[in-house]
């Protein structure tokens, strides 16, 4: 996993925050309480808490449409392809923004202001989205999702950057894992709570309709306000720490050069195909899954929402565990093959059988976590350091492009041909990913590459290379590959 290398590199350059006594304005020698001392663990834990909740609002509100699928469709009088536009519009800005996000944070706004701006975008986007429902204007809801998308993904970049700034060293992986778990917690809470919120609001308002929907979405927007507050607090604490510790400010560490794209090796393009082919069969499926479980398996709406959220619930604890396992064992390509194959089985189980869908969805959750832990670090193995930012940015970009397009296609397929066809379509997408990963195995094997090395072999290879390695600057943190797609 890239984090292992990162950790080693950072340890090499003596990564711990200097433990010298802090100097504050009233002169040397006055100790601060552990809570207020930026070099002490307790303070950093407080900062960690704010960092984790920074992304909570964005993940909570991202899946609001899925949690309220039937209500959105009925109250706004939509068909399924229009409904999926709400997801497509979230993805469109990120086709471009994945390249720009890190740049904006480093050069233009700075990490603190940038985070606050992106958190503002998230809030404003959700408010516009809710206002669109209140005023019964679907185009306004789409605008809201677009604005929300601008903020959401870039906020994840900011979150990662803060994590690196405060926790470089041994704790970084744990912090990433925690942030990821918080993200998934946000999604899960959303799936299971929004239905209840809607019903309570319906009682308050007196009837169902777009007003009820708008009010529920505004209530969901409260989590975004909460994230904004966290952003403000983080900005203050970061500024204070910088002042007290005279900390050197680290940027996102990435360098984006679009011309690097033509130098990408063939295995990297295969990795891109795997990424797109896989994720387009997960997120749109979750977006449309509620009605599927209600109709085919006779679940109640609450049960259907719960099973829809199981993928996220499982990935919260599973990702760190599986990440640890992949770290220890290596052999990334084999794990990717297993994950893709398991997802294919899960989709086929849901399409062609009436077996208990909890089995298929749990399988989907585990394989989704496994793929994230095994796939994204592979980029770091095939691409030189100075191109890593561009590679990750490009990968996120085409992933968002794929999601935007396939979200609309999925809605339209469902409208015309039903769920069986849709599941077969998703299975076909996963098949494409499977073909790509098998090709990747052979290409790597035949070229004598090192994608599928075991962890010990890779460590040996690294030691051999580290003598001649110059010092590294680029840290691959553009991506919410740590947070969202995990």
């Amino acid at each position: 996993m890239a984090d292992t290398e990162e950790r080693q590199r950072l340890l090499d350059e003596d990564g711990d925050i200097p433990s010298s006594r802090p100097i504050n304005e009233s002169g040397p020698g006055r100790p601060m309480s552990a809570l207020c001392d930026p070099s002490r663990l307790l303070h950093r834990l407080v900062v960690l808490a704010f960092m984790c909740f920074l992304g909570f609002g964005s993940y909570f509100c991202y899946d609001n449409p899925a949690a309220l699928q039937t209500q959105v469709i009925q109250d706004m009088n939509l068909n399924t392809s229009m409904f999926m536009q709400l997801y497509a519009w979230y993805s469109w800005p990120n086709v471009v923004l994945c390249f720009l996000g890190g740049f904006l944070l480093d050069r233009v706004f700075g990490i603190r202001l940038g985070t606050i701006i992106f958190a503002l975008f998230v809030c404003i986007g959700q408010v516009i989205f809710a206002a669109g429902a209140l005023l019964d204007r679907f185009w306004l809801m789409e605008v809201g999702r677009f604005v929300f998308g601008i903020g959401g993904e870039s906020l994840a970049v900011a979150q990662n950057t803060y994590a690196v700034n405060w926790f470089k060293g041994k704790e970084l992986n744990l912090v990433f894992g925690l942030q990821l778990s918080m993200a998934r917690l946000g999604s899960t809470v959303n799936m299971n709570i929004m239905g209840w919120v809607y019903n309570r609001v319906a009682v308050l308002v007196g009837s169902v309709g777009h007003t009820t929907l708008g009010v529920s979405l505004m209530i969901a927007g409260a989590t975004c306000i909460f994230s904004l507050i966290c952003a403000l607090v983080l900005g203050y604490l970061d500024k204070r720490a910088e002042r007290i510790l005279h900390k050197e400010h680290r940027g996102t560490g990435e360098v984006i050069k679009l011309t690097d794209v033509k130098d990408f090796p063939f295995p990297l393009w295969l990795i891109f195909i795997i990424c797109v082919g896989y994720y387009v069969a997960i997120f749109p499926f979750i977006g449309l899954g509620q009605v599927f479980f209600i109709e085919k398996f006779n679940f109640s709406p609450a049960e259907a929402r719960a099973i829809n959220s199981i993928v996220y619930i499982i990935s919260a604890p599973a990702s760190p565990v599986l990440g640890f396992m992949v770290d220890k064992i290596g052999r990334n390509v084999i794990w990717v093959i297993c994950a893709v194959f398991a997802t294919l089985m899960a989709h086929m189980m849901l399409a062609f059988t009436f077996w208990n869908p909890w089995i298929a969805m749990s399988l989907l959750g585990v394989s989704y976590s496994l793929l994230a832990c095994a796939l994204w670090p592979m980029v770091a193995f095939v691409v030189p350091e100075h191109q890593l930012g561009t590679a990750y940015g490009f990968m996120q970009s085409i992933q968002n492009l794929g999601l935007a397009l396939i979200a609309m296609a999925a809605g339209s397929i469902l409208d015309q041909r039903g769920y069986l066809f849709l599941e077969v379509f998703f299975s076909a997408c996963v098949c494409i990913a499977l073909i790509a990963v098998v090709m990747l195995y052979f290409v790597d094997y035949l070229r004598g590459g090192d994608l599928n090395l075991s962890a010990s072999a890779r460590a040996k290879l690294h030691l051999k290379n580290s003598d001649s390695d110059s010092h590294i600057t680029a840290i691959p943190s553009c991506s919410h590959w740590h947070t969202e797609v995990y």
Binding site: L78, E295, K296, T353, F354, Q416, G418, V424
Partner: protein
């Protein structure tokens, strides 16, 4: 080798889909099984006899097979009824004694001769349209108190449009539209469209039930009827009369295929079978438990339906056709099909509701699984 395995997975997905599509028609009746279908209105009525009142008519469809005949009789005298008679001769015909048929005591005025060739007969009657006010939005009328129900619309009291104008002899369809004299039907109507088929196929409009040469179809829809409350939901009452084997139970079959009815994975069949449940099914009425809220529905206009358990009914159905053919004293069963589920929009959102029933006779030389 991994490459070979990869191919197998790919192929398997396509193969499975192919098998599902082909076998559904292969196992059942064979794609090439056809009948020669002809349609006539009011058989045996010549100009010397008193014509029936406007809107009353008897449609006779003759589906001729190689060595058997299916007679479908669709009649609007009293409650609309569809009678299916299966004979094992190619020269059986329908004889109607019109003066007796149109009188009050019409028993025995309709015969299918020669009577010794009759193998099986069954009738499906549309008797009542119930309307209730779903105050708690549960769409479960059997749990509601009697006070939530409005006076049902008795289909035997409806006045229908002229059948002669709505007949299509080439497509073998007939349209019966009408209403009762109350205000609710001043701008709207209840329509029944009867279609007979001579070969395998699917209709274009949803729910696109698969039909074959042994089946006919009735599409029921309610258009523009003024509901009597803001929370009105409807329920259709069906009754059935059979010879020795009336339709007694409803099987709900689950299917993985929702291609023609997105998000509906079930088919309901009201079957008649002699003796116990393992004996072959002789005839059935089938429907997909879905109704649509628009004439050209999209995915979101579908609303699921559910049905009640069939019960025995003491009186015979109020249909002239049933009285004429079966006479008195036949076993009658009935059930209700309720439209919508809890949380779905009420009738007044679109003022349209449609539902399709499909009635078929299973050929004796064929065994098979029910149609998707």
């Amino acid at each position: 080798m991994m490459a070979a395995k990869m191919f197998t997975i790919h192929f398997y997905v396509t193969f499975l889909l192919f098998t599902i599509r082909v076998s559904s028609s292969f196992i059942d009746y064979g794609e090439n099984y056809r009948r020669n279908v002809s349609l006539e209105l009011n058989p045996g009525l010549n100009s010397s006899l008193t014509p029936p009142p406007l809107g009353v008519g008897l449609i006779h469809v003759r589906a001729l097979g190689q060595n058997d005949t299916l007679h479908y009789l669709f009649c609007s005298l009293g409650a609309p009824a569809l009678l299916l008679v299966h004979t094992n001769s190619t020269s059986s015909k329908v004889e109607v004694d019109w003066p007796v048929f149109l009188s009050a005591n019409a028993s025995g005025s309709l015969r299918v001769t020669p009577e010794s060739t009759v193998l099986h007969r069954n009738a499906l009657i549309f008797t009542r349209l119930w309307e209730y006010s779903d105050v708690n939005d549960t769409a479960e009328p059997e749990l509601l108190p009697f006070s939530s129900f409005f006076q049902p619309y008795e289909l035997q009291n409806f006045t229908w449009g002229d059948l002669r104008k709505k007949l299509d002899p080439t497509a073998h369809t007939a349209l019966l539209c009408g209403g009762d004299s109350s205000e609710s039907f001043s701008n709207g109507s209840l329509c029944l469209k009867f279609s007979a088929f001579g070969s395998v196929g699917r209709e274009k409009g949803w729910p696109s039930l698969l039909h074959n040469a042994n089946s006919s179809q009735v599409r029921v829809w309610l258009d523009g009827v003024t509901p009597r409350s803001n929370r009105s939901r409807f329920s259709l009452e069906l009754q059935s009369v059979g010879s020795t084997n009336p339709l007694t139970r409803v099987n709900v079959l689950q299917s993985i295929d929702d291609e023609y009815t997105p998000s509906i994975f079930k088919v309901a069949q009201w079957v008649s079978s002699p003796g116990n449940s393992s004996s072959p099914i002789l005839s059935y009425a089938q429907w997909k438990p879905v109704a649509y809220r628009k004439a050209s529905p999209v995915f979101e206009d579908a609303t699921p339906c559910h049905h009640s358990t069939p019960v025995a009914i003491a009186q015979r159905p109020p249909s002239g056709l049933v009285l004429a053919y079966f006479g008195e004293g036949r076993q009658t069963t009935g059930l209700n099909i309720t439209f919508s589920i809890a949380g779905d929009p009420f009738y007044n959102t679109t003022n349209y509701l449609s539902c399709v029933h499909y009635s078929a006779e299973r050929g004796q030389c064929h065994q098979g699984i029910p149609l998707p």
